[in-house]
Structure formats: C-alpha cells, structure tokens
Symmetry: D3
C-alpha cells in the first residue's frame, strides 16, 4: 500500500500548536484525520493558508449555492483533473451533504448524465470551463449563469471553488496523496446518511 | 431520475426467447438485471453479438490475465471515456473479483496512483494507449508488455478488451445508459465480498 | 512489406468449419479474402461475434440510412482514428455503394468539404461526435438529427456504427492490420463500378 | 459539386502574362491545370511567391532527400492537417515519384504502419513534429535525424517543407480548395506509372 | 479600456483595516497598487488566505531556489494558462529579480528556447507538467529533478508554486483581471534595474 | 546566450547581391538587421520567396485591414504557436503601428481580454481558427466576418496572413531563431513611438 504522501507526514507532536489543534479538531468531528491535513502539515504556513482559503469558500452556505452544490463543484472539477484524493474525499462529503448515495459517482464520471437539476448542470458547465479552459471565460458565460438565477457572488464562488481545487488537485498529485479508506464507503449506506 | 436509456426498454415478453432467457439467467445470478441487457434487447441481433463478444473476452481466465485484471482494464479505459455505466457496473465487479473495496475507485480516477502491481500498471498503460491513442501502438509497446511477462495472447486480450469497451462506452453514451443503483455499493462492505 | 497482422494468420485448414466456410464465402463473393477475416480467425469466438455485429449494422438498408451512408460513417470515423485498414477497405466499398470514385478520399480527409448532402453532413457530424467525444452526446444532438429527418432507429444506427468501428479501428491498430492491395483501386475506374 | 475555391477563379485572359504562362506550362506538362494554380492566380504577387517557394523546396533532389521523400513529407503533414487538396494532389505525385500505388494511402492514413524505411519513418516523425508541435523541436530531434544519416541541409529541407505545407494546407482550407478529379486515379494503375 | 475586474473594486475605506493596510503597504513599496490586491479585496477572507499562501511560497529564498527562479515558474506556467495579468505582472518582477530585460518575454513565449540554465529548464519542465498534466506526475520526474540538484523541499516548492498559480490564473481569468500599465515597462530599461 | 539560428548565419559578403542589398536596406530603415533576414539568407531562393510573400500580405493597407490589424494577426497566431521570434519582433511592430505600448502583450497572452474592438476580436477569432483548427473553417465563419464589415478580400488577407505565419513560426522553431534584443523595448517608451 502506498504511503499517505510522497513527502511523508510529520509527527503530530512536532507541529505548531495551532496546526496540531486544527488537526485534532477535524479528527474529533470526522472520526478520523483526513490525510490532506497530515500531509500539508509539513509546511505550517501553507497549511494555514490552504485551510483558510478552503473554509472561506466551502464552509459557507448562501441562498444561491448550498454546501452540496459547492462539494459537487469540487467533485466534478477534481474528476476532470483525475485527482483520486479529492474525488474520493469530497465525493464522500457530497453524498452526505446531498443525502444521495449515487450522485458523487455520477458527477465524478460524467456530470452531463447525472441526476442533477438544469441549474446545477449550468453551474458545473461553468466550473469545468474554469477548470479546463479558463482563458475562454467570457461575459456570455456569466449571462448563461444569470439565466439560471446565479448572482454575481454566486459566479465568483463557483469560479473561485474551481480555481482553488485546480490548486488542490495539483498539490495532491504532487504528493501522490492517498485518500483515507473511510471515505470510500461514507454516505453510501442508509444508516450513515 | 433519468430513464434507463434514451431509446427506452422493450417489454420482456416481446423479446425473442433466447434474449429473454439470457436476461432472466443474468437476473437470477446477479439478483437484478443490469440495465445494459434491457437497453440492448431493443436490438436482438446486436444484443447477441455484444454478449458473445463480451463473454469471449471477459468470461475467461488465463495464466497471464485473471478475471480481476480484465475488469481492471474495463474500469480504467471506461473512466478515460467518462462512461458512467461501465465505470459503476464494472467497478462493482472489479471490487468483487479483486476482493478489494478500494481499487475500483483508485483505478477509475487515476490508475497511476492505484495500489496495483508494476505488471498491472504496464497492462493499464497499454490498455489506455489502445483506448486513447490507438494509432500510435507500436512494436516497442509489445516489447514492454513482454518484459512484464505478458505473452502474445495476453497482449491480444488486453488490447481487445480495451477495443471492445471503446465500443461499449460509446454505445452507453449514445443511450445515456443508467447504471443500476445496486452496483454503487456492491463489493464495498465486508459481508458482500 | 509488412505482414497481414502482428499476430500472424492461422492456417485455413485448422479453423472451425463455420469460420472457414464464412471466409471462403467472402472470398468467392469479393474475389479475394479481406485480411480482417484471416487475422481475426485466430480467435474463432471473437471472429463470430465481430462478424455478427458487423452484419447486424452494415448488411442492412433502411429508409433512413442506405448502405452507402453506413459505409460513409465507417470511412469518416475510421479516418478520425487513423485506421489504414478500415479507411482503405471501407473506402473501396463506399466508392462501389455510392457509385462515386471521389467521395471516399474526400470523406477520409475532410468530410466537411466533401460532395455530400446536408443530411449526410449532419449524419457524419454526429458519427464523429460519438467517435471522438462520446461523453458529450446530448439530447440537442438528437434533435439536430431529427431536423434532418433521422428517426430514432437511424440515430441508434449512426451511433452504433461509429461505436462498432471505434472497436474495429482499435483492433486493427492492435494487429497493425494490413489492407489487401486490391482495395486501393476498387471502385476508382469506370468498369469496376 | 462544390466550386474550385470559395473565392472563385479569375478568367485566364485577365491574368498577368507571367502568371498565365506558368499556368499554361503546368497544364501542358500535367495534362490538366491543378486547381491550386487557378485559385491562387486571384492574387498574382502571392501566386508568384508561393510558386517560387514551392519550387525551391520541391523541385529539387539531393543525395539525402529524393523527390519522392519530399512528396511523402507533404502527404503525411497534409493528412495531419486534414487537407483534401494536398493529400489528393500530392498523394498522386507521391505514387508516381515512388512508383508505388499503395504508399500514398498508407502515409495519408497512418504513416507509422506504412511500407517505408526506418529512415523515412524518422523523416516523417520529424516532419509531423514540425507540423503539429513545432515549439517542442529541440536538439535531440536533430540528433535522431543525424543517426539516420540526414545532414544539416536535409534537416532544413524536411522542416521547411513541413512548414511550407502548414501554410499551403491552411490556404487550401481557407479556399475550400477542390482537388481535380484526375488526381484521384493518377499513379494507381500500372500503365500510368 | 476594460475595467480592472469583472466584479468591480471595493472602495478602500470600506475595507477591513488589515486588508487596507496591506494594500497601502504594497502601494508604498511598489509605487502603485497591483490590481490583484484591489480586485481580491472584495472578499477579505479570500484576500488574506491568498496573500498568505503567496507569501509563504514566493517571499522566500532557499539555497535551491532563488526568488528569480520562483518568478520564472510563475511566468512559464501562467503563460501556459494564457493569463495576461500574471504574465505581465510577474514578468516585470522576473525581469527585476533576474536583472535581465529579455528573459521574461522568452520564458512567456517558449521557455524551451530561453536563455536559461539546464537546471532552470528542468525546473520549468516539471512546473509545466504540474500545471498542464498533473495526473501524470511520477517518481521518475522527481528523480530527474534530483539529478539537477533539487532536493525534496525544492520539488515541493516548484510544484506548489505551479499549483498556486493554477489557482491564481483561473481567478484572474474569472475576473478578467487587468494588469496595471506600469508592469509592462518595469525592468526593461537600464535605470530601472 | 543562444546563437541566432541553429543553422548558423552566412557571411554577408558571400550572399547574392539582391539578398545582401535587401538586408542592408532593412538595416538602414530599422537601425538593425532583424535576425530572420540573416538566418534565412542561408537559402537565397527561399529568402526571396519568403520576403516576397511577406511583403505581398504585410506591406499593404486596405480600407478593411490596416497595417496594425495585420501585425495584430501575426502576434495573436504566433503566440498560439509559442513562437518567440515572431511574438517579440511583430509585437514591437504592432506597438509602433498601433501607437499603443500595451496591446502587443495583451494580444500575445490572451487576445480575448485585450483592449481591441469587437471587429478586431472577430478578426482574431478567425485568424486563430485558421492557425489552430483550419480544417473546420466553414461558410458560417465567413458570414460572421461579413457581419463585422470584412469583405471577401479582407477574409483572404486575414486567413492568408495566419497561414503565412503558420509557416514562419514553424521555420523559426526549426531554426530556434533568436529575436534581436532591440525588439523587446521598441514601442514601449513614449519617445520611441
């Protein structure tokens, strides 16, 4: 079995207090510590910036964009980037947030044929554009989002989440980051939902 | 929820006997009828040819290529083609054949970072080449496979499976074929293995 | 001169009777045995399935899709896959079926500038989509075909032929299958039409 | 049947003398006037420059690069650019120069499986690199050519021919330039060689 | 002239103190406020996280990776992403850090032909791999970097910078972020160096 | 510092008179001899043809297409081909012709976000199509240009310039042609305009 990260994982007791506390807090809440926290802790300043950026965009619910929508963007764009860690980990969170055991597999393989709304489809079309052909983003794409009721802040959020995971996916590939086994089953069986 | 196929599904009692019997037989063995059988039954001659081709390559175990290896080829190439049906259905079979709840998700997202042997990695490198850049297949690729102990018939099998699912994936996309919900969980929990 | 197939060709008298008879029958009808039959005979079960699938889609003429149309799909998609065998062999058949010595070369190089009808152009646009970007096939593409008078079964046929030759092209690349010299000239000179 | 060029063809008697004479001279030599001359004559200055550039690279035979080799480069790179005019017209010239009725179809579809020498294969590998990924040309590619006995001037010729037809192919696409029907059959039947 | 950002720019006096102070500090140091600061200030939490991440990777000099090297990675990967803001702004910084008025234009257009060392070339090869094909990063790439004397932390830095600007480039495209005119000339004329 | 060309530069006094005179004339007018003239002089016949073709398309001003427009096409398509020489040299000329110190950097990185008119945007969209996907050029693209007031000769010019620089860019890559340092600063500072 491959290691958690190509760069190894630092001992918890050598970490700065705030980093270790954040890790322990996540472990308490989730029941296990997602490997991304352990791997990133090798660089405390980057750890703090990443977690702050992540929380600013993902720990948030707006009228236009629920938490499940945000996770759906992560799964779809991470799949386009072939990122095992992000697809598996955020696929689990998506199943839980959406209370749907099937949607993550659908969105990860081909969101065009997933059981999602036309509004979510437009959201993912835009997120994928930002992920894969960002130089072509134009005003016409923003108008298409507006037709589905997304306001300016929603557009920023969709694009910014796709951009953040362009970064995260690449970091995970750099590390060959391994998803925790627990993620694979989370949200798939009724009692877990 | 989307229908099973864009082209609908014929009533079982209107099918030719051999097609209906094959469908019932699969249903008995698996516990449910995989949607691909129902959707393809709309065209009995194509149904028979597809099933015959599938069985000739997949219902087979050779010293060089086990059934789990064959399913692994299907999952990896179908993922490269973004085929929801094949990734989900054959992902389930791979989990069961390999007795491994994690490998299908790994292979479907990025086989380069999956927990597989170097030999399996070489097998998938070649299968992906056939799936995505077939015109570049050359003698050097066959030599690489030979270095991993694959003989001539193994090479044929690997390439032919990748070729067959190039067809199946496209057919599934044409139909917008929906995977049965049962597949998503199969082989993930201990008691099911 | 390269061999017929990387995997060799089995002696005719070692083949199962039905396979040998089919080969002899084709040879009698065509005047020579197309190499694909000889190369595939190495695997009788796959030979039978391939021939059955091929005949179910190609030996058929419907009000919406003539035999020349079907060959045109094969030539256009095989060219997109750079498949020498299929472009040369089916190019010959297309010239004969269409009674046109130029159309195969046109369709093989750039179907957008071929002397074909707008309806055939729409047919090839869809076939190429299935061949090269199958995950993006959507209902809008089916509506475009309907505007040109293609019904549901025509759509299935166009897509299924493109899918079948996605398989055949890859198999031919795997084998480095060599077209018979006879194909290159068939249908090019008046007396042959 | 489509016109010769999207931009039309000027009347011969309105052309400058040197342009008309060159056209008549080609017509006398070939038996018909290749359409590219008629279409380009719309712009006499560009006509003269194009013909001069073409002749400087193609009407030339060096110890390292025969006329058939030069045509082979044109066919292979024009096929990569899907240029009907250049593939059909230069395919005819290649058949004649190489005294081989099959090689043009092979090179146009997949030069990797054509009946050519290893030296010609290396030549086409480099020509295709210049045609499709020119920014990646590096010293290592020149060393590979040197290993096959190509000297500095040969390298210039191979690259410059690929570059010139990058231009010609695009011009032909711009015009939707139609190949003369005569080209399709030239060099295919023994008496014509 | 296009606006600074599609999403507008918030009034400085409505910003949180720390954000405004950081902006003023940058303005004092540089002589003008780079537009990215103004545009990102619309979202203070994201502003803080971005700036922190940026500084952790870019405001740093290690034995293996100088500040000019870091800027060179930004310019090369941002050019691959067609990001006007990042190419222009970081091109200016690269000219200054490298004390070279030409290198930024070279690296932005085709780093393979830039006047850089073999070690820098290897660094950019890896950075571009992370930027454009991150799923293919493997141990062999890390070994290649090691041959050029890059240690584990250097590899992390190169990859993490490429990853961070995968995010920044996409954010800039989302905003249609406009570079300040001052950047275009910075570091080009002797007295400015 | 890299040499001017991989193939070297011939001594001026060994050149044919007309070639040497043309080089001296350019040197007098520009203040230095652009390297492309020196590098191409190695092949006088190709030098003459190239210069003639260039002048026929670029030394020309029509009501529909000014000299700055023509240079803009060169910069945009050369950037798509990653051609350092052409982007730097023609970027300089574009700055001068357009009397705009910023537009060349904008067009070279992402013309979609440059400060250009909608008509220029349409012109560049078409030029890029010819440069990168020429086989897809169709009548609908010509109609779009007509809507922006481009007549038939303008369309020829736009397409022919894109085609010519498809050739020039590839030749420059073949030579690893180095831009003269003078180009980098030309047209950037007020007194030079």
């Amino acid at each position: 079995m491959r290691p958690i990260s190509r760069f190894g994982v630092p001992p918890l007791d050598e970490l700065p207090d705030d980093v270790r506390e954040r890790i322990e807090q996540v472990g308490d809440r989730t029941g296990f510590v997602p490997n991304v926290f352990l791997a990133l802790a090798r660089r405390p300043a980057e750890f703090r910036a990443f977690v702050a950026y992540h929380d600013a965009l993902m720990d948030k619910e707006t009228p236009g964009l629920g938490k499940a929508d945000r996770e759906m963007i992560v799964v779809a764009t991470s799949a386009a980037n072939d990122c095992t860690y992000c697809v598996v980990a955020h696929g689990a969170i998506l199943r839980i947030r959406a209370r749907d055991p099937l949607v993550a597999d659908q969105v990860a393989t081909n969101y065009r044929q997933a059981d999602i709304t036309a509004r979510q489809r437009a959201m993912l079309d835009f997120a994928l554009l930002v992920a894969t052909e960002p130089a072509t983003v134009g005003d016409s794409h923003l108008r298409q989002l507006a037709e589905h009721g997304f306001d300016t802040d929603d557009v920023w959020d969709i694009g910014a989440i796709a951009a953040l995971f362009a970064q995260s996916n690449r970091l995970a590939h750099l590390m060959a980051l391994r998803p925790n086994p627990e993620f694979h089953l989370m949200g798939r069986v009724p009692q877990e939902r």
